[in-house]
Amino acid sequence: MAKRSKVTVESLALIFSLVALIFLYFYPIFLLFFNVKLNEVFLIIFDPYIQRLFLGTLIQAILSTIPSVLLSIPVAFFLSRYDFRFSKELSYLLLTPFFVPSFATAEAFIILFGNNGFFNFIVKLILGKSANFQILYSMNAVILAHIFYYLPLSSLILQQGFSSVNKDLEEVACLASANWLLMAKTVYIPQVLPSFTAALALVFVFSFISYSTPLLLGGKFTTVEVEIFSTRTQSSSLTLAFLQALVTIFFALILVVYREKSYVKSLSYRKVEKKKISFSNLSPFELLLFIVFVTVVFLELLPVYVVIVQAFSRVPVFIFPTEVSLENFLKLFSFDFGFGLSFIKVLLYSLSIAFLVSFTSTFLSLLFVFSYIRTERLRRFFSPFFFFPLSMSQASLAMSLMVAYGLSSLKLYGTWYLIAIGQISVIVPITVRIIEVSWLKISNEVYEASMTSGASRLFCFLSLELPQVYPSLASSFLLSFASSLSEFTFSNFFSTFNVMTLPAAVYELIASRNLGLASSLTSLIVVSVMVAELFVSKVLGTELRVI
């Protein structure tokens, strides 16, 4: 009797994956928890200042989430139900703010809403010279920036929900002469509710753990993430990081359970066919939707536009460039970023780290997915697991990586490794999702057919699965590249004179209000990110899934 071999390629991949997971997440988090004293935790929990901090962060997150999701409803509905000329291109453009680094949005806000910015110009024009529209450096500015930044994400999730509505039910309700309200109550709302809830939950979590936006626009308003960074030299910072990690893990747990129980099932409905419309014969409702959609796209792209225009302008910009010049770009080449590094060196550092991070993230994600995709039990664990690092506090993760690898015997602090490890840890959950969605399209029977054809697991992977997931690998690579180029938290935490990345350079320029140079640097990042995003959107479309 022949015995089944226990050691398979999949089990080797699984072992390697587990080691990687332990290295990236479990070990650092464990050390963070291990290094914190319980009495300090209690002290911090009952500290009124910390309580105010958490409350402020929570309120800000709630107030960012609700308008963001509500405003995305008409946009998502319109994109999921109607097909029109340039609809694809516009929907890609709508995704842009989500890919563009958040500090670019903050930068644009400073330009637009500053005392001498465009909005105050209009306010002064209407209300007189003494009038002033003060929104910057407050919780309101952070909320507004979050709405801008997360609306596209919310729209993407809702689109997936709206386009998965069961058309049969819709038609039955229609034939039963149900009015619009009844249709909404019995057909749309129950079926879209999972996506709606997912969008709310995700935007809330991301707003809660947002870092660069409150850092740049919060002024006196501080969030927990910023506080962890500000106090990182103090022991209390580790305790706060521990607490923040617990809170965000709790949020993630709820999200994961919800995702498995409701959200994933809701995506299994048949896709609704889009109605083709032309601009010459829109109904009033369609016209309204179209106007809302175009307005939102315009407003979403405005920050990106402003940053790019500022880059090409010698003087502060309103909306249109006044003195067009390449001076800001040329200044970059002679600018010293204070680390003894020239712009070219900083650029090469960023590109090198981005390449390494992209390659490693994509490879690791491929390995992870390969190890679990064909085993139902493993898939049920791993697939939701990767949502945890996505929604976990990055400041906490940074502190844990610092403890685990930065200042430990490995002494990785001061090297590019720590920045790369941090970036990989937050990019992998997204690339895993992209590759997994693509891989699941390959039916299990194809895989079984290859097995019964005598193919080994590895042969099946190389000959059948890899060619079919190749577009998702390319998308993952590009997305990782763009994310690494614009990643801010770990760059900020771990940068030293040895390593400086573009986002860290941009942050210094923005914080010191050197907006011309900041814009030129940001616009370089933004353009590269947009090119990557265009490719990813073309390949994956609305199947780009974050949750």
């Binding site: 071999s5 029977e445 194809v446 079984e448 057919a449 290859s450 019964t452 054809s453 193919a455």
Partner: protein
């Protein structure tokens, strides 16, 4: 290669799918495994292929227990219900795939693929992708891929379900021809009794997780072992008859005025009544003796005329081949007729009361 399964059991949660399945397929023969949807046919096939692990029970290939052998090592060819052709490979590459996977030398692969392509009449389509060929051609490719490596066992899981009738008949004939030519032991899963009847050497009916009837096609079809299997096999006519005597291994039975005989294995002395199964094409209209029946409906089924009549409280169907006499027979609706058994040796006794 002989295939034997012994007492296979498999549950999914609380649902018992297989509850002790046992059968044996002699070498070079085709077994049709027939059962309704959800009866466990596909599960049985998957266990034999090694794709699903049974909870208990054994699978033997030529007396060798293969329970622990992975699918890649079982030398089995399988045609899936959804075909599972490799979308990124051409027709030629799909057929060659199992040979490449087994590291067969390139020249041998070339010649074998050409042989299969010719056998399955796929000439001219070698470089096309599956998405570029028709459904029927895809079926052939799936069969070609399964038989390419000279497998010892061929498994087919309802491969022709989604095809229209002419194409199905064509492919059934082709499969029969190939199977006989290659002499490969084959297990064919279906819920269609016509497919089972036309293809197989042996039939097994799978009901409620167990094999109900098993045997050579002719004997199973002509004398189903139970009422449920009979229904599955399309033997739906059942009549309750009085036992009036026993003579020379035959029971003398009576329905109304009509007396007929049925072979019985043993003398049933105290039996008063039996339930009798009669195949629809084992009845004919008679002007002399027969069951008194009232014609309820006359329909066309494929190229047969089907007469539906009521005998006592039972409905029976009979198939008459006189398709050209359809209009004439239609006039019998509502009228009394006599139905006579053509061959008493093909009457089955299923229940003794």
């Amino acid at each position: 290669m002989k295939v034997k399964v012994v007492n296979l059991k498999k549950s999914y949660g609380n649902v018992k799918v297989l509850d002790g399945v046992s059968f044996e397929v002699p070498s070079g023969k085709l077994l049709a495994l027939l059962g309704p949807s959800g009866s466990g046919k596909t599960t049985t096939l998957r266990i034999i292929a090694g794709l699903t692990k049974q909870d208990s029970g054994d699978v033997y290939f030529d007396d060798e227990n293969v329970n622990n052998l992975p699918p890649q090592k079982r030398n089995v060819g399988m045609v899936f219900q959804n075909l599972a052709l490799f979308p990124n490979l051409t027709v030629k590459e799909n057929i060659a795939y199992p040979l490449v996977a087994r590291n067969v030398p390139r020249e041998k692969i070339e010649s074998r693929v050409n042989e299969i392509v010719n056998m399955l009449e796929l000439n001219g389509l070698e470089d096309r992708l599956p998405s570029q060929i028709s459904g029927g051609q895809q079926q052939r490719v799936a069969i070609g891929r399964a038989i390419a490596p000279n497998v010892k066992l061929l498994l087919l899981d309802e491969p022709f379900t989604s095809l229209d009738l002419p194409l199905k008949d064509e492919l059934i004939d082709l499969l029969k021809e190939i199977q006989r030519k290659l002499g490969t032991t084959t297990i064919y899963v279906t819920h269609d009794e016509y497919e089972a009847a036309s293809l197989s050497d042996y039939i097994a009916t799978l009901l409620e997780g167990k094999i109900d009837c098993f045997g050579e096609t002719f004997s199973v079809l002509s004398k189903p072992c139970s009422e449920k299997s009979a229904k599955l096999l399309g033997v739906s006519n059942m009549v309750t008859a009085k036992v009036v005597g026993f003579e020379n291994e035959y029971l003398i039975l009576k329905v109304g005025d009509y007396t007929f005989k049925a072979k019985a294995d043993e003398k049933i002395i105290n039996t008063k009544e039996v339930k009798v199964l009669i195949r629809p094409n084992n009845l004919e209209l008679s002007s002399e003796s027969g069951f008194n029946a009232t014609v309820e409906a006359v329909n066309l089924v494929k190229d047969y005329v089907q007469l539906k009549a009521k005998v006592n409280s039972n409905f029976v169907k009979i198939y008459l081949e006189h398709i050209d006499k359809f209009h004439e027979l239609k006039k019998l609706v509502g009228r009394q007729v006599k139905l006579k058994i053509k061959n008493e040796n093909l009457v089955s006794l299923v229940e003794f009361i």
